[in-house]
Amino acid sequence: MNDMSNMPASKGILGLQNPQIEFRKDLFADERDENLNEIGKPVRRQDIEGHVTGRSPFYDDHLFEGLLHMRYVRSPHHHARIRRIDTSAAQGMPGVVRIITSDDVPANMNTLLSLLDFGLDDEPVLSDKKVAYVGEPVVAVVALTEAQARAAVKAVQVDYEVLPHVLDPEEALKPGAPTVCDVYPGNAFVYHGKYNHQKLRYGDVETALKSADHVIETRHQMSPIEQAPMETCGAIAAPEQNGRYVCYSGTQGLFFSLGTAAKVLNMPSSRLHFIGGTVGGGFGGKVDSIHEPLAILGTVLTGKPCKSQWDREEEMQVGAPRGAERWYITDGVMNDGRIVARKFTGYFDAGAYTRLTSYAVIKCVGHLPGPYTIPNVSADVYCVYTNRTPATAMRGFGVTGVDFSIEAHMDQIADTLGMNPIDLRILNAYRDGDMKAHRRTAKNCAFIECCQVVAEKAGVTIKPESKAASSMKDGGGERGQLPAFTATDENGRVEGFEGWSYAKKGGGSATTGSVPSTTTPTPASLPQTPQPIPQPASPAPVTPAPQAPTPQVQSPSPAPTASSPKRRPPTRFSSISGFRRR
């Protein structure tokens, strides 16, 4: 049953019976070609010889004559207004080559998802008006040596007016809470221009809860988690020839970084030569392009190679962690273990700026209610701003936190009913052909088989029906139908935001005579009309035509958008975040 013929004959150093990988080729055996050439074979990684000789070229493994070092003046406060920045003492210090403030940044906005038209610009590259988290960068100092840059950083005087701060997402949503991010008053990202949370509505949860035998509620909470890669984030930029700049980066998203740098520097991407892909551990923490734009700007302003790098303390404290999440799950459960309704309220702590959390929520809601067929599901999931370090991606981002909560919640149900937790899961598991809460048909399900293997490995006896269950049986039919009625609401309605247009943050940051407000962020190769959606190889049962965006009311918005061209939403993204009617 377990084919270990191709594995190294090792039991593992702890003498465990199980090998590192076990293939359950008995499961779904007729759905695969087992003539695999790479998977399961002990093939050496193509990059491992570089790793064992120390030759793999991480971004810092490049020598430059005259390399300059950048260090940052950072906010010591959770939340403060910047009254005055005085760099005069630092200017004259030994080794200081250039001091960079927000005025020097051509387009002082680093919000990755705005490149995809998802959300508004909210995060400055260097702050000049206020700081919203401890460690937020205000000034960059470029010097001949790292030690000299550190010394000069200490000599920069910033006059702060400390503001009240909020560190808890539910506190941040209460009326009267300090406004963390000026772009989103109320401290919540605005979804679809309409709501302060992402909604999932499927069936009628409130009615179903009333008829359930049990209503079971749980609350789960996690802290932010730091990815802590062995290699800290950073980038080195240098002048190349013909007006180009080369940038070596440890980023996980070379194209993200290229696009962001082009936007921030108001430079066509053809002038940027990005080299990367050798990353000393990322785990999601190297997707925010914090260093590249500044390293290149340092090079532009000094004419010399420039390195921007976090030391370990910065990596841990300033570097974006996986955001904390808090989950309230309420289930309506029948005595026999069937879950008839599931309600989620979730809070993603984005920290002081959006980064990728707005997208994490979208991804998360697409995942709910977990691998279970539940006829009534609702979710309100918030992307909340607090004065904590801005969060970003990490391993299974958007999903692992809620999955933990769901599975802990399932165990709570089992406990309440006195039911075997694996039997409970198999009973409620989705099967091929079932309709999922985000209105797509389930296929290639394997959760039941996972549960059966877990029971076998853990020595847990499950009911005969559970042992006989299969993802390929008993799905579809009535279970494959959409609910006859879905309760919707206008809770959390927000006014003053447009659904789709790309807006700049208002204010004086973009001053250095370079960015006219009508400039699009990337070269004018972007189509003005929606492209047809590429069809997936195995088409979904229902493939609706791309939805034309409904005409938006031009309501007053925080940023001046009157002169911005009306842009159609990118259709690829709209298929995930839009509210589809079936």
Partner: protein
């Protein structure tokens, strides 16, 4: 920027850092495992003073009398078979690299939560010879540790006596093994005379601003043996007089909660010998 001066002998270094007082900007560099962190972070002193004086790395064992130069590393201690009673301590200081670099003298001045070797030395009643100091009895390590913030000193050697077999025990509590920083460490010395404990010394690490003795536990053990009742009495008063800190490793509350448990385990293991 940190300037570095290398001088020939420790006495020369003592002159640079001014007989017993660190003169503001000059600090003595031993193994570097604590000081270089500050230098790397741009928080280092203006001047580092170091010496290649070979006397600092001397290990002199004469019967039961042991003299360790302040520059003796943990690795050197581990390489000396005659210092086997100190091996359980030295072995748990850092990892192999830190043990090759970190010195006995440096451990005495290492800030919380470090300094586990100093905890052991304190329990063993070690004496310290100051740099540039005259010959004669050294100063008690107790005084050096107590005054290390207010008036730090430059030491040249540590002297101690080999404990009776089975009379010395050490336990380091950390979350990560084998190498992890201390939640706390405990050193116990219970020399016996005519079958009774006489001159008990008990020291705690990471339970205060510096390695510190526990008078209450010493009193509970003094004059008796390591039987169950004595161990129980000792555990009861484990944290008397201690005000452990809260830091990233553990809270004050946690340290107080588990101190007695770990003390009991250590004393029980010693009692069984």
């Amino acid at each position: 920027m940190t300037q570095v001066e290398t001088v020939a002998t420790l006495a020369d270094a003592a002159r640079q850092v001014v007989g017993g007082q660190i003169s503001g900007d000059a600090v003595y560099l031993g193994g570097g495992t604590v000081l270089m962190r500050d230098v790397n972070a741009g928080e280092g002193p203006a001047r580092l003073v170091r010496t290649m004086d070979p006397a600092l790395r001397e290990v002199r064992i004469s019967g039961d009398r042991i003299r360790l130069g302040a520059g003796v590393t943990m690795a050197q201690v581990l390489a000396e078979a005659d210092l086997a009673f100190l091996h359980p301590v030295a072995r748990q200081i850092g990892g192999p690299q830190v043990r090759a670099m970190g010195t006995v003298g440096g451990n005495i001045f290492a800030p919380h939560p470090y300094g586990d070797f100093a905890v052991a030395l304190l329990a063993l009643g070690a004496q310290v010879t100051l740099a540039g100091g005259s010959s004669g009895p050294g100063r008690a390590l107790d005084d050096i540790l107590r005054d290390r913030e207010r008036s730090p000193t430059l030491i040249s050697a540590i002297e101690l006596s080999r404990p009776q077999a089975g009379a010395f025990g050490f336990l380091k509590v950390s979350r990560v093994k084998p190498k992890g920083v201390s939640v706390m460490s405990i050193a116990v010395h219970t020399p016996q005379s005519a079958g009774r404990i006489q001159g008990a010394r008990v020291a705690w690490g990471a339970m205060g601003p510096a390695p510190t003795r526990s008078v209450a536990v010493e009193r509970a053990l003094e004059g008796g043996t390591l039987d169950t009742a004595a161990i129980e009495r000792a555990a009861q008063v484990a944290t008397e007089g201690l005000n452990p800190p809260t830091d990233a490793i553990a809270t004050s509350w946690y340290r107080k909660e588990v101190a007695g448990v770990h003390l009991k385990r250590l004393l029980t293991s010693m009692g069984g010998r």
